[in-house]
């Protein structure tokens, strides 16, 4: 039997192909069940006009029971959005990716949540502990235990 992650991701992928992605979200690559890339753009008025970001999803075989590792891609082509909950290395401090993860969320669901997190940003700034965090950050953001405010986004 295929792993639960493969069963679920196959369905998510087919839904994306049938129904398309929500506005501002596009599938960049999904040719295996370990890692997907999606692009993300904030529509309408925002702090990020014209900026296109890429999100990297990494899945373990227990997805969606365990959360995917999600981060913004930082390379020659993409940068991390300047936002109080996003570190310059692309790591994201969002409780839904950590201790409030639930299998109800899907790849697209996460993208939409992050899109609205960016859309509601009032002031472009990095998290206050950005430099210290980035210096010591593990490769996989799931290994970080972020501390979340009662939702202020």
């Amino acid at each position: 039997m295929a792993s639960i992650s493969a069963r679920r991701l196959r369905k998510e992928l087919s839904e994306i192909h049938v129904e398309g992605c929500p506005v501002g979200i596009n599938l960049l690559s999904a040719d295996n069940f370990e890692q997907w890339l999606l692009s993300l753009e904030v529509m309408g008025e925002s702090q990020y006009p014209g900026e296109v970001f890429a999100l990297k999803f990494r899945f373990d075989p227990n997805y969606p029971i365990s959360s995917p590792a999600v981060q913004f891609v930082v390379d020659g082509k993409y940068t991390s959005p300047v936002h109080p909950h996003v570190y310059s290395n692309g790591h994201i401090c969002a409780s839904i990716l950590g201790n409030e993860w639930s299998p109800v969320l899907s790849v697209i669901g996460i993208c939409v949540t992050l899109q609205s997190m960016l859309a509601s940003c009032k002031k472009k700034e990095r998290p206050q502990d950005n430099d210290r965090y980035v210096l010591h950050a593990p490769d996989n953001p799931k290994k970080t235990r972020f501390h979340y405010d009662v939702d202020t986004v």
């Binding site: 909950h85 409030e100 639930s102 998290p127 206050q128 235990r145 939702d151």
Partner: protein, 323 residues
Amino acid sequence: MQPTMDRREREGLPQAPRLVSGDLPPEEPIPSYTGPSFVTDDPELSRLTPAELYELNQGMLNDAVPDRPLIDQLKHIAVLRSEYEHGTPAFLQQIDYLRSQGYNGIRRTRGDGDCFYRSLAFAFVERLMNSEEEELEFSVMSAISTLESVLPMLEAAGFQKLVYEDFYETFVSIIKQIVEPDRLDHSNLTPALLLEAFQSPEVSNSVVVFLRLLTSAQIRTDPDSYADFLFNPELGEPMAPREFCESFVEAVGKEADHVQMTALSRALNVNFSVAYLDGRSKDGTVDFVQFDSGNDYGSEPMVLLYRPGHYDILERRSQEPLE
């Protein structure tokens, strides 16, 4: 959702009290934190509160002991008693009381915050399996039709089919195996196969997730019945049904409290009771709290054993049936 610790410290605010979700009963030794020796590469550690450290420790212990079963074999309740022998006499009295009431066995679950759902799911399937021969087929079919009938409720609660169907199928296929041989095992469900299924993370956690979705859907589709009872377990503040369900029902590893148990009793249409082993009884008895929103009168309710922060299954038998 920004990192709060720095701000709180800077402003001299006290840390919000946190529930320890490590979930171990109090008599098991609490691992003491002896300094940052095992995670020295993490400079953040020194900034954690003791409660956070404890939680972190628990997480690491659970990770470090992967062979601690998600759910264990049935053990004689004397095993539990022996662990309390150096503890408070109140617990011993209560354990003796349980024995006097005919409860001779305990089936333990891993303390991962999913223990209520896992215990109940296991007890649910096991009870079906132990139905009288002539009622077996009927019991299994009734259970499956109950599960089928809740699917529209899941849809009504706003869950996509792709979100719940794999978990649903996993649960139903275990129940079906009680009466028809499984394709993989070529055998009907036996006590050994049931235990094996619930010890396999993939199967076991899928069932847990399904029960969480069911509980959530019950609350979301009947918010008026539950709204007055939804509080943030960490902050004590009232919460809206949707937020409560997202954060404390659907989220993996979040413990169940009275509201979730009531909702699940209703959604699964089953009765169960919870024996509170809390060391607080004056006369050494144990309170059994009934969750009887279901319609299955006649059959003896399933019994879970609650110790602060943790659920196991309480049984009349003291060892696994030989099969």
